[in-house]
Amino acid sequence: MIVLEIASGVLLAAGALFVISGGVGLLRFPDFYTRTHAAGLTDSAGAGLILLGLLLQGAGWETAVRLLIIMLFLALTSPTSTHILAHAARRDGVPVWREGDPRR
């Protein structure tokens, strides 16, 4: 059981790290497209790792099934939303940031 707890702790810590770094990226990156990258990171890696970590906490199969459903749902919807967002932004002519441009 101790092994499970350590594994869960490691996963949660990694997830928290990803989540925070994604948040900082969303704030600090210079333009919309680079920020998409940061947001995508928290949504997939951060969320996935945290949910996996919670899964290993061992709280009965009902909870485990729900955690898996949430994971599946997020894995489907959040890349889709990021994709359509970037697509729509590109079509609307949101300019891409190049080295030396001012931050937007």
Partner: protein, 331 residues
């Protein structure tokens, strides 16, 4: 305990910061989006304050329905707010300062937050709802038993309000009130969004299944008729947004929706009348199974929750169709 206070204060601070930003924003699209964010924070606070059923409803209503309606109306009207003259803002500030001062003065008499000895917690009714309901009604989710059984008449009233609001919106925006110069509909170019269509198509059955699960699992966990109805509606809203309104209306024709809006209150009141015919009081579900009160309650609650679900789903969907039809015909 400190954990709770820390999270609570952080979320409330986020909430107030969002509200201040919304009040200062003149681009209404941005304000609407922040309203969606505001709803998400509110729902988190509801979870923190143990109101899981309320959090369920708030998330579905605040993000799934209100945002869509507000955005639809914004695309019909002006999306920029005019500057309000400073003189015009003065009475508001005076009223707010006065009311706020009064509220804070009055808050001295409020019970301590979270204390187990407040009048709310020590009232005899608390024990009825939390302990005795287990024998009377026999379902773990006391929110559902209070909603559908102890305060069933009250909920019937709420349902009639929702019904009336649906009829009012249909009267204001419905097909009978289409603007005369309705232009030909423009087919939206959704070709670019193939990923979106595929994913939505995959999700739709699960959304509807989830709504049914919420409806029937409301006795044991967070959920019930109101929540299920709103989830159904947001599923159809998603479908209408992605696949176009025409296709959504083929799946769910307007006339069917109109009938469904009326089905709910009729079924709900019908349950009450049936109870009276069986020799009990209005909405006294015990009469459904005279030997086993809990079984009777179970049948009654299930019927009533389904009635709520049908009407709420139909009202929300037809309100969305009402607004979205305008959006399409005004292009």
């Amino acid at each position: 305990m400190t954990t709770f206070v820390l999270i609570n204060v952080t979320l409330l601070a986020i909430l107030i910061a969002t509200a201040l930003t919304i009040s200062g924003m003149r681009t209404l699209y941005a304000a609407t989006m922040l309203t969606a964010l505001f709803s998400l924070v509110t729902a988190c606070l509801f979870v923190l304050l143990d109101a899981v059923d309320v959090a369920f409803t708030e998330a579905a209503v605040g993000v799934g329905i209100s945002t869509v309606l507000l955005l639809g109306v914004l695309s019909l009207t002006r999306s920029r707010e005019a500057v309000t003259p400073r003189l015009r803002r003065l009475p508001g500030a005076v009223v707010v300062l006065f009311t706020g001062g009064t509220l804070i003065y009055a808050s001295q008499d409020l019970p301590e937050f979270g204390s187990p000895t407040t009048p709310v917690q020590t009232h005899p009714l608390t024990d009825v709802y939390l302990r005795q309901s287990q024998e009377d009604i026999g379902i773990p989710n006391t929110v559902t038993s209070v909603l559908a059984s102890y305060r069933g008449l009250d909920t019937l009233g709420e349902l009639v309000v929702v019904f009336t609001a649906g009829v009012a919106v249909l009267a204001l925006l419905g097909p009978l009130m289409q603007p005369a110069e309705a232009r030909e509909r423009e087919v939206l170019d959704l070709v670019d969004y193939r990923v979106l269509r595929v994913v939505t198509g995959m999700l739709m059955p699960f959304i509807l299944l989830f709504a049914l699960y919420v409806l029937f699992h409301g006795d044991f966990g967070p959920g019930g008729g109101f929540q299920a109805g709103v989830i159904f509606a947001s599923g159809f809203v998603l479908y209408g947004l992605v696949f176009g309104l025409d296709r959504a209306q083929q799946v769910l024709p307007r006339r069917v929706l109109w009938v469904l809006i009326a089905v709910g209150p009729v079924l709900y009141a019908g349950v009450g009348v049936a109870n009276m015919l069986l020799g009990g009081a209005f909405l006294d579900y015990d009469t459904f199974a005279p030997d086993d009160a809990a079984a009777g309650q179970h049948i009654g609650i299930l019927l009533v929750e389904s009635a709520i679900g049908v009407t709420v789903a139909a009202v929300m969907t037809s309100i969305f169709f009402g607004f979205a039809n305008r959006v399409e015909s005004s292009r």
